[in-house]
Symmetry: C2
Subunit: 222 residues, 2 copies
């Protein structure tokens, strides 16, 4: 192998990431995970302390990388636009592009990771606390940037707009295959290029529409 080696921890993280993404948390057993990873069952508890901590570790591993890259791009587009305010399209790009780039160029682990993120984002259980813990700081920074890029919009519209934005992203990353069925094969859920070409324009137009609606109905902030 080209790589020097893969530690037991990494093997477990990779296998669990893949299986959790495919079947969810409760439907995946530790025996499946350790079987896929080729290690002993007890090693999950030795290295991570249990099933839930393993899940948390998966979320954090690539979450930290994603946050860093997102913030890096956000400051980049801000500097490029200075001293003028950055455009909503640029902010949205800084938010989406790291995901799309990782899907394009990085390994298949990122694919599983984003499917997993889509799963936990809509999971009604404890997973959301992990979600907040990992991503809230970065997300708040992006919401702030969106407000700056759309100074006419009410804060409520930005918050709700972010909600819609992340919902559209989430369902796309889940790759449900629904799109393939409904379009009779014309579109494919895993077509990153097609997603890249449309997701940004869609949500940018949506946010601008929301901002206009707020201004038109005269409920803009004082």
């Amino acid at each position: 192998m080209a790589r020097p080696k893969r530690t037991t921890k990494e093997k477990l993280l990779d296998a669990a990431e893949k299986l959790f993404a495919r079947k969810g948390f409760h439907a995946t057993s530790l025996r499946e995970i350790t079987g896929e990873a080729g290690v002993d069952l007890a090693l999950v508890n030795y290295h991570f302390g249990g099933k839930k901590p393993l899940f948390a570790a998966i979320l954090e591993r690539r979450g930290a990388v994603l946050n860093e890259e997102r913030l890096r791009r956000l400051t980049a587009v801000r500097r490029a636009a200075a001293p003028q305010a950055v455009s909503p399209e640029a902010v949205i790009g800084a938010f989406f592009d790291p995901i799309l780039d990782f899907l394009d160029h990085a390994g298949p682990g990122w694919h599983s990771y984003f499917s997993l993120l889509a799963w936990v984002n809509n999971s009604p259980e404890w997973g959301r606390r992990l979600m907040s813990k990992t991503f809230d700081a970065t997300v708040r920074e992006f919401i702030r940037a969106l407000m700056e890029s759309l100074p006419g919009a009410a804060p409520e519209d930005i918050f709700w707009g972010y909600n819609f934005l992340t919902g559209a992203l989430t369902l796309s990353l889940a790759e449900t295959g629904r799109l393939d069925v409904l379009s009779d094969g014309l579109c494919r859920s895993n077509d990153v290029a097609a997603l890249r070409a449309r997701l940004g324009p869609f949500v940018a137009a949506g946010l601008r529409g929301l901002a206009q609606r707020g201004a038109r109905s005269g409920q803009a902030q004082s």
Copy 2:
């Protein structure tokens, strides 16, 4: 009680709907469900034949009602606009409003049902087949209507646009509470009026933006 009675089947459907929506399929046991419903454990298998068929029955029960109401409104807006083509806003309204109206005026069961829908929509497992079986026919009708309302748009843009649309809806129905946290209480996930005021404008603007993008890049259909 005002209602004449509730059959065992209905008690089970209601209890399971509530618990599945809150914790997901695998994390909810039949013993919890029958306990909540106040009936014997074995009755699930007697009346429905198992846990999965129970889940399917939940999906179908209100799904049929929702489909009927959606199609009713779609034909209404089509007739109101005839002989001209219906606007995308009207199509989107016929798609969203039944959900929002049920949330407003119908019982709490609908609330659980839509949370459950959000859950199964992003569930990477067998649930999606049920989803397709229940909703695909109606959804195809709405996609056709969207194409008519945006004649300049490429079919691919409509399909992807529907994907984003339903993603935004799905995350909103899931009521993750994320919105409440991120906005420091300014917005509330369960504020149906706030959602109603923003979801339609957002996705309508997004779809129009997608259509313009397609036309601008010259890849519209011949």
